[in-house]
C-alpha cells in the first residue's frame, strides 16, 4: 500500500518535470524550425513557391533528407542571408569585445577589491564596505541617466570606452570574491610573507590560483550578463557598426519585421554561444551560480 502511494508521487513528479521541460524547450525548438525554413522553394513541378510558416497543421517531417519544414526542404540559407543584409559579423565582434573586456575588468578589479577587504587593514575600510553594501539597493534605472550624461560629457558616446568603462566593476563581484577569500586559510600567505613576497606577488601567486572556482563562477555570470545586456548598448551606440547583437536584433526587428525566418536565424545565432558556455560550465552554474547567492 505504502509502496503504491510512493509510486504515484513519483509518476506525478515525472509528469510535472516532463511537461515543464517541454514548455521550456518548445519556444527554442519552434524558432529553430522557422530559422531553418527557406523563404521559398521549388515544388515537384519546379515552380517556386513561398513558404507559409504560419500554416496549420504544419507539414513538418524529420524523416526526409533534408527534413521538411512547412513543405520546404530545410536549409541554412537564412543564416547566410543575415550576414548579407546586416553587419552581423561586426555585431558579433562588438559583443565579444564588450563581454570580454567587461568580464576581464570584473575579474581583476572585483578580486583586487575582494582581497583588500578580506585580508588587508586600511583606514575607512568599514566605511567603504558599508557604502558598497548600501549601493546594492540602488536600481539600475536610478543611475542610468547620470551615467549616460557622464559619458556624453566625456565624449564617449558611440565608443567602446562608453560601452565598457562604467561596467568594469561591481559590488556583487566584490562581495563574492571577498567571501571566498575569507574562507581560504591564512597559513599559505603567511609563509609567503616570511619568504619576503609583497602583496601583489602574494595575490597573484597564492590567492588568485586558489580562487579559481569563484573566479570562474563570477566570470561566467558577468560574461553572460554582458552578452545579453540590452539597455546600456542601446544608449551608448548610435552607429550600426557599433551595435552589439541585442541592439542589432532591435534594428533587425524594425527593418525586417515580417521576415520571421531571418529574425529567428539572428536570434538563434546569438543564443547558441550562451547555451554552449552554459553546458560546458554547468557545474559552476547550477552549484555556485544560484546557491552562493543564498548562502547564509
Amino acid at each position: 500500500m505504502k509502496k503504491r502511494k510512493f509510486k504515484i508521487g513519483l509518476t506525478i513528479a515525472y509528469i510535472v518535470l516532463i511537461i515543464y521541460a517541454l514548455i521550456s524547450l518548445f519556444p527554442f525548438f519552434w524558432s529553430a524550425l522557422v530559422s531553418f525554413t527557406p523563404m521559398n522553394y521549388a515544388d515537384e513541378t519546379g515552380t517556386r513557391r513561398g513558404v507559409n510558416i504560419m500554416e496549420w497543421p504544419p507539414s513538418i517531417s524529420f524523416f526526409t533528407l533534408p527534413p521538411t519544414l512547412f513543405k520546404a526542404p530545410a536549409s541554412g540559407e537564412n543564416y547566410a542571408k543575415v550576414f548579407e543584409i546586416t553587419p552581423y559579423g561586426r555585431w558579433i565582434i562588438n559583443t565579444v569585445l564588450y563581454a570580454v573586456l567587461v568580464t576581464f575588468g570584473h575579474l581583476l578589479f572585483d578580486s583586487f577589491g575582494g582581497y583588500a577587504f578580506a585580508r588587508l587593514k586600511f583606514p575607512l575600510k568599514n566605511f567603504w564596505f558599508t557604502l558598497f553594501l548600501a549601493t546594492m539597493m540602488i536600481p539600475g534605472q536610478v543611475t542610468l541617466i547620470p551615467q549616460y550624461n557622464l559619458m556624453v560629457s566625456f565624449g564617449f558616446i558611440n565608443t567602446f570606452y562608453g560601452l565598457v568603462l562604467p561596467k568594469l566593476t561591481g559590488v556583487f563581484g566584490l562581495f563574492l570574491m571577498k567571501q571566498f577569500f575569507t574562507s581560504i586559510p591564512r597559513e599559505l600567505e603567511e609563509a609567503a610573507k616570511i619568504d619576503g613576497a609583497g602583496y601583489l606577488k602574494t595575490y597573484f601567486k597564492i590567492i588568485l590560483p586558489m580562487a579559481k572556482p569563484a573566479i570562474t563562477a563570477l566570470g561566467i555570470y558577468i560574461f553572460l550578463g554582458t552578452w545579453n545586456d540590452f539597455l546600456w548598448p542601446l544608449l551608448m551606440t548610435s552607429d550600426k557598426s557599433m551595435y552589439t547583437l541585442t541592439v542589432g536584433l532591435d534594428f533587425f526587428k524594425s527593418s525586417y519585421y515580417t521576415f520571421w525566418q531571418y529574425m529567428m536565424s539572428a536570434t538563434i545565432m546569438m543564443t547558441i554561444p550562451m547555451i554552449v558556455i552554459f553546458l560546458s560550465f554547468q557545474k559552476n552554474f547550477v552549484d555556485t551560480g544560484a546557491s552562493t547567492a543564498v548562502k547564509g
Binding site: 519556444p27 536610478v142 543611475t143 557622464l150 568594469l168 540590452f230 542601446l234 543564443t271
Partner: protein, 384 residues
Amino acid sequence: MKMKAKTREAVAGYLFSSPIIISILLFTIYPVFAVFYYSFTDFQPTESQKFETSFNPEEALSINLNVLLDFDDVTYEDVKEWFVLEDFIKYDLGVKLNDEQYESLVKNLDQEKLLRDFVDRKLNVEMPAKDFFKKYMRTGSEKFTRYIAEWVGLDNFTEMFSDQYFWISLKNAVIFSLVVVPVQTFLALLLAVAANARIRGRKFFKLVFFIPSITSSAAISMIFMLIYSKQGVLNKLLGLNIDWLNNPNTALGAIMLMNIWTTAGYFMITFLAGLQSIPTSLFEAADIDGASYGKKLFKIIIPLLKPQISFVVIMGIIGCMQVFDQIYFLIKNLRNITIAFYIYKNAFEFQRMGYASAIAVVLFAIILALSLLQKKFFKSESYF
C-alpha cells in the same frame, strides 16, 4: 619598523581597492546625487548639447552679409555697414536660443573682433558654437559653454500626480509583481520538489529548466513575438485568434507569462539546493509518524526553505519593478508600459531627463522600501 609595515598594508589596501572605489563613486554614488538634483530641474539633454554643434562662422557671416565666399576686396568698413546683428544671432548661427541668451548675445558679442577676423579670412573653420561664443563674447560666454538646467522645485513630482501614464506604468509594474512573483515562486517550488523526488535524469531537467534564464531578453522577446503573433503557434494550439501583444487587454498578461517562463527555472535551482540541504532524517521521522505529504510540505519544507523563499520573492519583486527589455521590444501600446520603460521614454525619447529623474527617484524609494521591509521581516538571513 612595525609602523612601517602597517602603513605599507594600508597603502596596499588602497591600491587594491582603489579601482572599485573610484568606479563606484563615479558610476553609482555620483549618479544617485545627480539624479536627485536633476529631479528638481527641467534638465533637457538637447539643451545641454545644442552648443556642442559645430558650424562654420565664415559661411554663416557671408550669408548674413550677402557676399560670396571668394571675396577679395571687402573691407572692414563695408562689412560693418552690411552686418545685421539681430539676424545673424537669430538665423545665421543655427542655434536655437532662449530670450535671455539672445539678449546677452546682442549686448556682448564683440562685433568688431568678429568682422575683422572675417575680413582677415580667419573664420573658415568648423567650430562648436560654445567655442565661438567664448572667443567672440566680451563677457557672459560661460552661460553658453555650460548648460545649467533650470531649477523647477517640486514641479516634476506634482506633475507626476496628474500624469496618467505615470500611474498606468506604476500600476502595470505593481500588477506585474503581484502576478509574476507568486506564480513563479510557486512554480519554482513545485518543480524543485518534483526534481527532489527519487527520479532519474535530475541533471537533465536542471539544465533544461535553466536555459531560458541564460538567454537574453532580446532573443526571448523575438521568439515570443513569433509565438504570440496573431497567426502564430500559440493561437493555433489553443484554437484562438488573439493578437496577444497588440491587444491592450492581453499584452501585459502575455509579457508576464513570458517572464515567468524565463525565471521559474532559475529559481527552481535555488529551491532545489535548499531542499537538498534538508536532512533526510527529518522526512524519515515524519514518515514514521505517518505524516501526509501536505503536512510534510507545510511543516518541514516551507519553514526550512524560508531563506530561499524570501530571496526568490524579493529578487522577483525587484526584477519585476525594473522590467524593461521585453516592453521595449514587444509593447507598442502606452497602456501596457511599465515604470522602467516610462523612465527611458521620458529621458531618451521625450528629452525630459528632469522629469524622468523624478520618476526614477520614486522608483528608487519604492525599491528601497521593499528592501528594508524584507530586511525587517527576514532579519536573520543575509545573503552576503
